[in-house]
Amino acid sequence: MSAEPDVIRKCTWPVCLVGLFVTGILSLDCSLLDVHLRRVTWQNLSLLSRMSKSFPIECLRESKAFELPQEILSHTQPLTRDIKEAFYEMSRQAFHIFIQDTFKSTWEEKHLRQVQIGLDQQLQYLEQCLEEEEEENEDMREMAEDEWTQSGAPVPQLSNLELRRYFNRIDRFLKDKKYSHCAWEIVRVEIRRCFYFFHKFTALLRRK
């Protein structure tokens, strides 16, 4: 994976552009969602790697185990919708973390912008496809809502709650460490790890 950033660094934007195939933002085909997500997740992962030259050794001391909820990624039979929801939740929370304005000096502005743009793209794709699915499954959704109001915690929501708790731990870590440079570096590495797991997760989407 260390070779990837070099390769992508060389692949400057004209060459990269020429290699990509297109979709207009409003005409996305959701049956190819896994292809998009795979590509965009990997791009974001590489962007996160490139943002910082290397992890400062002195920050290792402050490192903390955030306990990424890997069990959601090892479900044997998750519904496609659950996978998309998990993906959406993850993308949203990662976006939320990276739009906070407290790291002006830590990383180069343009790298940060690219990460923000990349995450926004991920969100746009997911939103369009989740909306499409919702329109199709109006009845199912109402049933799910009833379940939710009665029991308080229906099964599909549980994985999203785990994800939220995970990101909440990251958020609180940042606040407690007062958004220090080390704290941001640790968070950057953690979210990159999270993207990596989700990138593997896209394989599940393809199988459906």
């Binding site: 552009l17 979709t23 207009g24 939320h96 743009i117 926004d120 929501q157 999203n160 939220r164």
Partner: protein, 562 residues
């Protein structure tokens, strides 16, 4: 007797309720029931039903427990409450995604009832979206809307969601025919396509996509659009990618106007708060007099962006046009595939389609599934057959033998909605093989040819041998002669001396051809001594021989060392 018994029982039964409380002194205070929590944004309300008949002097207190706490703690804001609800927002939960347990009991004086436990809950899952704060600003054909997200800036409940809210807005004209329009907007957005000088009313509700949650509609807000602006805004903004540039075009009906265009990142829309300062001027599109401008591709980073254009005719500037969203990915193009064809047998041709290659010989990442439109025709006719194939290897059967067919293909994206296609590849033509009867003749002919070639080669070989024997005899002497004329070359001597094989030979006869082989020793002195010793020992050496012998040995030594 019976009547007396009945009356006593009746009195006892009737008297019991009065007697018992007085006797127990309040230990049977009934615990409250039906405890429930209502959470709106950061307001936590606990409600319950009191169970005691006399509500005088009965107060209620509550306690809470969260994971990590061993003991119950007093719930702030819910101690000694006389009513049946209390507000415990001041509890300042660190984590709204953890389960909370609550319990309430009734108290009167020193007595307390049993604890009534409220069903444990996760605050985030119970939270409802509270009221919204809406500000409106009117233009002539649009309304700018500012919605502040639910909760305050320091909201604990929505701390991780303030960029996730979307707002569903219903807007209608107050005129006789109220046509409603529903739109989904971000927290700072614009509603377009309105008429000037009209009163519009709207209401908004906030939504969270996932988990799905919908708030209540805000109250209705009304505003008048301004009169038609002197300088209208540009319309129908379009952007296209061509070669290495983007071409931005718009419509404008009037002359003598200059325009400027700005762009902004799309993701900023998700972040609440005003971002009016985040628009950047597009180079080449400042003070242009035409209704288009050409933008080099390196102006925009990869991603999704928005563009707006403004017109000005000297003194007055128009309002900003509608914002056009565009994705930089639109500019990529599909390359034509590489097609090849070969004839399989006399009536079919096998076609294989390869991945497209860019002109600089870099292979293209194929990220989206492609289908191929293949045009197939006979070389001599113009009748084309169009086939759409998903596979990259396929065969055209049932063709005429010994005919030339030509094929070309182009790549299409699988989904018609996208409507992207490449240009056609080069045309490749191939001839089908000849038919069955002619084929067998061909095979027979080939076999015969092969056979005759083999025979000819053999015949030629035999002939050559004869000729060689007759005309070019070998010049080697017979083997018996070899024995007499063979001489070991001088080199053997050298080799044997280097292997340190020593042989001491004594000369029996004084013949010139015989040479002395002695042990080599780089030191000449020893050698000479040795030589003289042997000569003395043997006594058969003449002086002449001794000298010649040593000389030859010395020569040998020199040669060897050289």
């Amino acid at each position: 007797m019976l009547a007396l018994l009945g009356a006593t029982t009746l009195m006892l039964v009737a008297g019991a309720p009065w007697v018992l409380p007085a006797a127990s002194g309040g230990t049977n205070l009934k615990s409250p029931e039906n405890g429930r929590v209502c959470i709106i944004d950061d307001n936590f309300i606990l409600k319950w039903n009191s169970n005691s008949e006399s509500v005088r002097n009965v107060t209620f207190s509550a306690e809470y427990k969260i994971p990590g706490m061993d003991n119950w703690k007093k719930l702030p804001g819910c101690q000694h409450i006389t009513s049946t609800e209390c507000n415990f927002s001041s509890v300042k939960l660190k984590n709204v995604y953890e389960k909370i347990e609550l319990r309430i009991r009734a108290e009167k004086g020193n007595n307390a009832s049993q604890w009534h436990e409220v069903k444990p809950f996760i605050p985030f899952q119970k939270a409802q979206i509270g009221p919204l704060d809406v500000h409106l600003e009117a233009e002539d054909k649009a309304i700018i809307i500012h919605i502040s997200p639910p909760g305050t800036k320091d909201s604990i409940m929505w701390a991780m969601d303030h960029s996730s809210f979307i707002y569903s807005l219903v807007i209608w004209k107050n005129s006789p025919s109220p046509e409603e329009r529903t739109e989904t907007v971000y927290s700072r957005d614009k509603i377009y396509k309105l008429s000037p000088e009209t009163t519009y009313c709207l209401k908004v509700k906030a939504e969270l996509r996932s988990p799905r949650r919908v708030g209540l509609y805000s109250p209705v807000y009304c505003i008048n659009t301004t009169e038609k602006h002197k300088v209208p805004a540009p319309e129908n903004i379009e952007i296209d990618a061509e070669n290495q540039v983007y071409v931005l075009k718009w419509d404008y009906a009037y002359e003598n106007t200059t325009f400027r265009a700005q762009w902004s990142h799309e993701f900023l829309k998700r972040i609440p708060g005003s971002h009016s300062d985040k628009w950047k001027q597009i180079p080449n599109c400042e003070d242009v007099k035409t209704t288009h401008c050409v933008i080099p591709q390196n102006v925009f980073p990869e991603g999704i962006h928005r563009i707006r254009v403004q017109a000005s005719n000297g003194n007055n500037t128009s309002f900003w046009s509608e914002e056009k969203i565009f994705n930089t990915e639109m500019k990529t193009i599909l390359f034509p595939p590489v097609i090849s064809m070969k004839s399989v047998n006399d009536d079919s041709l096998h076609v294989s389609i390869g991945a497209p290659k860019e002109s600089e010989n870099k292979s293209v990442n194929q990220l989206y599934p492609l289908i191929y439109e293949v045009i197939f025709r006979e070389n001599t006719s113009n009748a084309e057959r169009k086939v759409v194939e998903k596979r990259t290897d396929f065969t055209f059967p049932n063709l005429k033998p010994l005919t030339v067919y030509c094929v070309k293909a182009r790549a299409l994206t699988e989904n018609d909605k996208w409507n992207k296609s490449s240009v056609f590849s080069d045309t490749v033509c191939e001839k089908t093989k000849p038919g069955n009867t002619s084929k067998t003749w061909l095979i027979a002919g080939i076999c015969t040819a092969l056979f005759s070639v083999i025979v000819a080669v053999y015949v030629v070989k035999v002939l050559l041998r004869c000729i060689n024997y007759v005309f070019f005899p070998s010049s080697k002497p017979p083997s018996t002669v070899d024995e007499y004329f063979s001489e070991p070359p001088v080199r053997n001597l050298l080799l044997s001396t280097s292997e340190e094989r020593t042989e001491r030979c004594s000369v029996i006869e004084n013949a010139n051809t015989l040479t002395v082989i002695e042990e080599t020793n780089p030191i000449d002195e020893d050698h000479k001594k040795y030589n003289s010793q042997t000569s003395q020992d043997s006594g058969n050496y003449s002086n002449e021989d001794e000298n010649s012998g040593s000389k030859i040995s010395e020569e040998l030594l020199q040669q060897e060392t050289v």
